[in-house]
Amino acid sequence: MKRIRVSQQEIVFAVFAALFLTFSIFLNGFLSADNMLTLLQNVAVLGILGLGMAIVVIGRGIDLSLIAALAVPGGLVLQMVQNGHSLPASLLAAGLLSIAVGLVNGWLIAYAEVPPLFATLATGLFVAGLGQAALFQLDVVQWSEGLAGFERLGQGSILGIPTSIVMFAIACVVVFILLRKTRWGAYIYAIGDNPFAARVTGIPTRPIIVLQYVVAALIGCFAGLVMAASVNSMPTRIFNSTLIYDVILVVVLGGIGLSGGRGGVVNVIIGTLLIGTMLNGMTILNIPYAGQNLIKGLVLLVAVITDTFLNPRNEETAQQGDI
């Protein structure tokens, strides 16, 4: 008898489809074009962050400093404009800060060979602390006059589609091209699959690892700007929230294994859609917060358990750090 192989990606997609169907049938007002757009809009920033995380995870790393990379450069733009600097100068400063964060992360991991978990945990703390101590006057950096027009990055719509969804789409296309159409993308997969083999074949593994973290930090900065524009402020305290777990959830749930070398943009989209559908449906149902966490956890457990049953682990495929 031929065993049916179902990947985690397909399981998650099935869970998503089942949820979506249930909500569509039983929940009045769920399946309207308007609500669909709201659903996507609500998870657009999460999706963008998921893309940044995906690049790093595919290369067998993890970037816990991603939320700091979202909060601090984004907040810096708002703060600098508030203090009277011009918008282009502020954006440039934020971009440079993001690149610096990425370079430090990459250098620590690729050259100093610090495990990414610890390196990015530390840099994330450092960057968040830097923002609090030196850059921002208050945790919530308010929008100011000088930013007029810039809020269109996260508000309003383009051709009827809310801008933040368009931004997510653009980020998807860019990351897709990077991963699938460039040599660097192929290198990232190779490194994720087997870093030692990649190095032996002559791939410049260290510079590529640095590149991953720089791109991730820049994507984080971009997500931060979209978020700030969307809520007209930058709540830099978001660094202390559980957002980073949601980002990892999107990536892992979508089927990008933490062992690296697998998955792509499509996985991030599926993971994001699942989270978005759950959040949206539960908000419409007005389920209390504690109940929402319970359900989120339950759905995640079901997905992971189903995966374990359908794709049992063995010594050949199991790797350290695999989940």
Binding site: T38, F136, L138, V231, P235, R237, I238, N240, I284
Partner: protein, 338 residues
């Protein structure tokens, strides 16, 4: 002659008087009997300040206001910033007890965590002043907003705005674990009990997070485009709620009531541009001044810590379009820090 004599006598008397007393008054002033002990009671004393975190308008404002009032009298400040970490806060309070400051100004993260510690502090002879969020232990003084009143007055505003409309409202709560959020909700419930015609279509916690508040509000507005009002629990979070209302093109149609410390950029500016319709402000500089006054009184009274206990609930300032332009409705953090 007699008349002359009288005059001479009178002028002599006047001369004698002026020579005797008037110069004496100019040379030795009258000593005010209590100011010296007051100054001595304050000089060199330490006030320890433990907010839930620094770097936001409320805690920065309180600190700046306290320093402005007390530093000229030689009062020293120590500050412990737990940065939203309740355990770090409890540790800070514990270590402060052994350092024995004269006064501790405590901003509780919840009702229980510090309660026992604060009692111990007062037993050890430290005055404890609790600010805005009280604990289960009643200490020398509580200075702060009455959250139940805030919830009631916000809801009254929303209910009034809903008259003749759909009567559908939404509630955006803070974090479930925060007592401030639970108290405010109680206030909301008090008013809703009197208005059975009002229907709450959504009551969700957004964790003090503007992005979450926006996501919830967007979904709720898509489901109920005829919503007439929203009760939000903090202006820092309700920036997101307001952004969702604005994007749905419902500014002015959905009445948004919120509350906060009344800092100009976070409150008055946002009322002026139509983001908020009502912002109940607990006026941080006044709270700081009341705390400072209480500290002066306690230190100069010599009362045994814990022997007197009282509360100073803040008089709220409702900020609406009418007063958002005035100088007095809001305050600037930069001015307070000068």
């Amino acid at each position: 002659m007699a008349c002359m004599h009288k005059f001479a006598l009178g002028s002599l008397a006047a001369l004698a008087l002026s020579a005797g007393t008037v110069p004496a008054l100019a040379q030795q002033g009258l000593d005010e009997p209590f100011q010296k002990t007051f100054r001595e009671a304050l000089a060199g004393k330490t006030v320890a300040y433990v907010p839930v975190a620094m770097n936001f308008d409320l805690t920065e404002g309180w600190y700046a206001g306290l320093k402005k009032e007390l530093e000229p009298f030689g009062v020293k400040f120590v500050i412990r910033d737990p940065n939203w970490n309740t355990n770090a806060g409890a540790q800070a309070v514990t270590s402060l007890i052994s350092e024995k400051p004269a006064v501790m100004v405590i901003h509780n993260p919840d009702v229980q965590t510090y309660a026992k510690l604060l009692q111990r502090a007062e037993n050890e002879g430290i005055y404890v002043i609790q600010i805005n969020m009280g604990s289960a232990y009643r200490s020398s003084a509580f200075v702060g907003a009455n959250w139940i009143e805030i919830g009631e007055r916000q809801t009254e505003g929303v209910v009034k705005a809903c008259q003749g409309k759909s009567n559908k409202i939404a509630i955006i709560q803070g974090a479930l674990s925060a007592a401030a959020s639970a108290y405010t909700l109680k206030g909301v419930e008090n008013i809703l009990a009197k208005h059975p015609e009002i229907k709450v279509v959504s009551s969700q916690a957004a964790d003090w997070d503007a992005a979450k508040a926006k996501a919830i509000t967007q979904t709720v507005l898509k489901q109920n485009p005829d919503l007439c009002g929203i009760v939000g629990f903090w202006d820092g979070m309700d920036i997101g709620t307001a952004a969702a209302i604005k994007e749905a093109g419902l500014t002015g149609k959905v009445f948004l009531a919120t509350s906060g410390g009344g800092e100009r950029k976070g409150a008055c500016e946002l009322v002026k541009n139509g983001s908020f319709d009502l912002n109940m402000s607990y006026d941080v500089p006044t709270q700081a001044a009341q705390m400072a006054g209480t500290i002066k009184w306690l230190l100069s009274s010599g009362a045994k810590p814990g022997s007197v206990k009282g509360s100073e609930y803040t008089t709220l300032i409702p900020i609406t379009k009418e007063n958002a332009d005035t100088q007095t409705a809001c305050w600037n953090l930069s001015d307070l820090k000068k």
